[in-house]
Amino acid sequence: MSAEPNVRTLTINGEEISARSDQSILEAAREHNVEIPTLCHLEGLSEVGACRLCLVEVKGARRLLPACVTQVAEGMEVTTHSPKIDRYRTMILEMYFAERNHVCSVCVANGNCELQDLSLKLGMTHVEIPYQYPQLPVDASHPRFTVDHNRCVLCTRCVRVCSEIEGANTWGVMGRGAQSLVITDLKQPWGDSETCTSCGKCVQVCPTGALFEKTSVGNKTRKHPEFLPYLRIMREGEQP
């Protein structure tokens, strides 16, 4: 029997709250209706802290910490919104738009895009950072799906869902920094992949138009990442 109590008391934006010791700051905050913006986080997948949009101030920490991968602790004092944090978040968002070629007007995800939604939510109206215009490939070799690297934000949701839910491990990441690419198998064309089961989960969890079904015409296609928690619950129910 553990002597350690399972409950931690901390403050978020000055408000005292209780959380389970295994919860992240993000989980605890959302449970108490404190909104923290996220992009790589998705209910039902593991956390990687890749997008940095959930950065928060923790008193005593010398740098901002990603709320999704920081566990709550007794007496922690968390600030989720301040002029400094808001400025950083907008800057991060601008970096996403500047790093690759996000042309909303001609994108299949226009109107159903989490990156676009975030720009509205965080009040970003234009990008001060110079656009990079990299030359990036589009792989349409799969009979049903396409990956357009111009629109990828490297959140790795596709990598995680393929590994953690489908168990196929088709998706991976190669390269470093801005040169990183999500790849299928050993950077083989997606259509030639022997591991891909064509389940389409990666497409459904992709927050932008980077992964899309070829039947998507115009921008009327909604994605459905909300199936994940249910899938998880169903599977856990099967465990002995």
Binding site: F97, S105, C113, Q116, G123
Partner: protein
Amino acid sequence: MSDLKTLATVWLDGCSGCHMSLLDMDERLVELSSQFTLVYSPLVDRKTFPDRVDVTLVEGAVASEDDLKKIRKIREHTRVLVSLGDCALTGNVSAMRNMCGVQPVMLRVYEQNVVQPQVPTVGVPALLNRVRPVHEVVPVDVFVPGCPPSADTIYQVLSELLAGKVPTLEGVAHFG
């Protein structure tokens, strides 16, 4: 910001969709026209940009030598410069050629698979190698995202300017 009387609209490298959206304000145009005088625009006949304009709406990205010359002159003679729509704000479709530079585009359009290949050089402005959003070239006062921004959004911007406010579309409009 008070006493705004003259309005100009400019069409750089864009599809004119933002101007269509402007016209889409319908009867509200009548209301606005009693408060603004449209002194320069693709919609009126004046050929030279006036010396002093209170508000200029710019549609389109800066893509040619001519755009560059125009936007510098416009900035110099405008009190409130408004970037209207995604091309002015991000480069949008106009800037998609930045991924490969201007030469491959010219080659593809005017030389490959063409009966009489020739790159036009007379009577047309030279294209810049890189298409740029307006605010990368001159300071911009108001940013209006959208492809195109809706008539409601444009109406809101103009109404707020008339009321002496600097409009902000933060949390109201997004790209696309």
